[in-house]
């Protein structure tokens, strides 16, 4: 019984991490409606930056968020402005290829700069645990969980209450009409991409204390983030959180009861099934998703 609870707890903590991965993506995806195959690479860049700040300047990763987030904001804006915007009106095919090209280029740039070595950091709290009864809760994962919740709630409030947020929702709903209403769509896209990237950057900084970064880590994270976002429903904040938790639990359970070697395969299969059976996700509304290919 105790092991069962631990499986659940581990699954939830893992789910928190996955939710964190997908916060930025769900925002970008929800508003700009672009599938960015290089999303994981943003995370990778943030992790390398955090690593460098810790290793060379001894800045604690939680503190380095103050640097990483703005840095990634700028990177995100750059990607939107110079890579996505020029081909925004091309076919979906071209958009896929340009982000795939970006993914290949960034991944290999990292390989060139940092070699294939994995890197991780050792902080005083890297292996700290909170022990409740006989259950161990990893502290850095708990912090990541907390941040996931916090960031998603914050995002939700932003979209609901602020002018920028409302503009984002307007553009998400109908780009043309939003433009007619006077919203400067291109500028909004820049802000959205920047914000989404900054959020992804925060995720990266939070992950480094207990996981590692290597040049090809982005690919895995991209796929995971998409699984979570599709599951939760595009552009749906609560959905992204719950989707993350769901995948975390699925992975934890299939790892324990089936085999750790197949746990990723299980959630990929679930992903394909969701796309077939309920492409709007478990909680999604499905509005405006035709552009990205869901019917």
């Amino acid at each position: 019984m105790e092991l069962f609870i631990q499986v659940v707890v581990s699954g939830l903590l893992l789910g928190g991490v996955y939710a964190l991965l997908s916060v930025g993506l769900t925002l970008i995806f929800g508003v700009v409606r672009i599938i960015n195959f290089a999303h994981g690479e943003l995370m990778m860049m943030a992790m390398y930056l955090t690593y460098w700040l810790f290793h060379v300047h001894h800045i604690d990763p939680y503190l380095s968020i103050l640097i990483v987030a703005p840095a990634l904001f700028l990177v995100g804006m750059g990607v939107q402005r110079f890579i996505i915007q020029p081909i925004f009106d091309s076919s979906a095919l071209m958009k896929i290829f340009v982000t795939v090209g970006l993914f290949i280029a960034l991944q290999n740039l990292a390989l060139m700069l940092f070699k294939a070595d994995f890197r991780t950091i050792q902080t005083s709290y890297s292996m700290a645990t909170l022990d409740v009864a006989a259950i161990s809760i990893s502290v850095p994962r708990l912090v990541a969980f907390g941040f996931a919740l916090g960031l998603l709630s914050g995002l939700y409030l932003l979209l609901k209450l602020t002018l920028v947020g409302k503009a984002m929702r307007a553009v998400a709903e109908n780009r043309v009409v939003a433009q007619l209403m006077g919203i400067r769509v291109q500028r909004l896209y820049l802000i959205t991409f920047g914000m989404g990237s900054a959020l992804t950057g925060i995720a990266g900084a939070l992950l480094l204390p207990f996981t590692y970064v290597f040049p090809t880590v982005g690919g895995i994270y991209t796929l995971l983030a998409f699984v979570v976002v599709v599951l939760g429903g595009l552009g749906n904040m609560a959905g992204a959180f719950l989707g993350g938790l769901f995948i975390g639990l699925v992975e934890s359970f299939s790892g324990f009861y089936v085999s750790p070697a197949l746990k990723e395969a299980v959630y990929f299969v679930i992903f394909i099934l969701i796309l077939l059976v309920r492409p709007q996700g478990l909680f999604g509304v499905g509005k405006g998703t035709e552009e990205v290919g869901l019917k």
Partner: protein, 408 residues
């Protein structure tokens, strides 16, 4: 006048002849070196390459092989297709007659197939899968231990050292195996299962996992469920660390952990886990805290490594390739530089050097399948932040201690 001309002519003639002889003599001995230095195997592939390169540099400083300088034609083989392509290119385009490498078993399989079909000797120094020599190719030689030796050491150690210390009979001790699912992990896994059977040891569970996983808590939880005394682990660099960390977080309670080289031999393993790595045992190629009477040439190797690469060796893979390359050079000396496969193999079969005679402490004796049966695996333990050799007695510097791992 005539006499002076003829003397002059003779001198010029002699100079020319010696020039040609010089040129022929200074044709270097060219050997193909195939290692994965990019991609996911890059770290240990590069470490392996360094060992070979050091051997070459040192050999050239001493005059080379059969009087000629040695040159490596180094190629990067990040995947199986590349291994095949490069082997093809080295044999057909560069005209090489001898290839070495490879660190990874699957890459070795691909490249040595090409060599075998072209009748060219492939000298493997790092891939441990039994299949490499089991194919029965007359062109293949392997200087390092194979998977079977690793697993044999592990089961023997569990049975003969751990069991008595915890008051259990050999058939009572519970052993679990955790392994990454690529060729490296799978080949060890097969052997552990076989050795456990012949050694009369209970293998209570076998848990494969993917080395790129972000989270391995399910592996630890399964272990907690199966309650083994000893866990044998086969991991690469990242996963070794992740497993260790999560074992500590989830408070895995076991008597001993025996790694199988790979990630558990790396300095980065100890750096990332700190005191939690204390007590972790490891079966692997020779590492550096070892009785140097057993490993002549080790100190010089480490010095040269530091000089050439500005850091201490990252794992014993470089040492294994250093030793292996020297064995290769010795064979070449004996054949006088002749790389013809039949002659080479014949010469190899006649060599016999006992254990403790090379920098890695290995002996040399090649059996019919091309395997060096005097290549040994030793057992190491992380003590005081260093990976010290604890078994067998010959190379050991400390006696093994039974310490619960991942607990400090």
């Amino acid at each position: 006048m005539m006499k002076r001309c003829s003397v002059l002519g003779m001198i010029i003639g002699l100079l020319l002849i010696s020039g040609f002889v010089e040129m022929a003599l200074s044709q270097p001995v060219r050997i193909g070196a195939l290692y994965p230095v990019s991609g996911s195997l890059a770290l240990l592939g590069d470490e392996s390459w360094r060992g070979a390169e050091i051997a070459r540099v040192m050999k050239n400083q001493k005059g080379g092989v059969a009087g000629k300088q040695v040159e490596f034609v180094k190629v990067d083989i990040p995947d199986v297709s590349a291994a095949k392509s490069e082997a093809e290119r080295l044999i057909n385009r560069e005209g090489l007659k001898l290839l070495t490498g490879t660190y990874s078993s699957s890459l070795c399989l691909a490249a040595s197939e090409v060599a075998a079909r072209a009748g060219i000797i492939y000298f493997e120094q790092g891939g441990i899968a039994d299949q490499i020599t089991a194919r029965g190719y007359k062109t293949l030689l392997r200087s390092c231990p194979k998977a079977q030796y690793f697993s044999r050491s592990q089961i023997q150690f569990a049975r003969d050292f751990v069991a008595p210390k915890i008051g259990k009979k050999p058939n009572e001790i519970r052993v679990a195996l955790v392994h990454e699912d690529s060729a490296y992990g799978s080949s060890i896994s097969k052997n552990v299962e076989a050795e456990a059977k012949t050694g009369g040891v209970q293998l209570v569970s076998v848990i494969p996992y993917n080395k790129d996983a972000v989270d391995l808590s399910s592996v630890i939880l399964k272990l907690k469920n199966d309650k083994p005394d000893v866990v044998i682990g086969v991991s690469y660099a990242n996963d070794a660390i992740l497993l260790g960390r999560q074992a500590k977080e989830l408070r895995l309670d076991i008597k001993a952990f025996i790694g199988t080289g790979g990630g558990h031999s790396l300095t980065s393993f100890q750096q990332a886990l700190g005191t939690a790595a204390e007590g972790v045992l490891n079966v692997d190629f020779t590492q550096f805290e070892v009785n140097t009477k057993f490993t002549p040439g080790l100190k010089e190797f480490v010095e040269m490594y530091r000089k050439m690469f500005n850091e201490p060796p990252r794992s014993g893979h470089s040492l294994a390739n250093f030793s292996g390359t020297n064995i290769l050079f010795d064979l070449l000396e004996k054949t006088g530089g002749n790389m013809e496969a039949g002659k080479f193999r014949q010469t190899a079969a006649a060599v016999e050097q006992k254990s403790g005679s090379t920098a890695s402490g290995w002996g040399v004796k090649f059996d019919d399948s091309g395997q060096n049966i005097f290549a040994d695996t030793f057992i190491m333990q992380w003590r005081g932040g260093k990976l010290v050799t604890v078994y067998p007695e010959g190379p050991a510097v400390m006696t093994p201690l039974l310490e619960a791992p991942f607990s400090k």
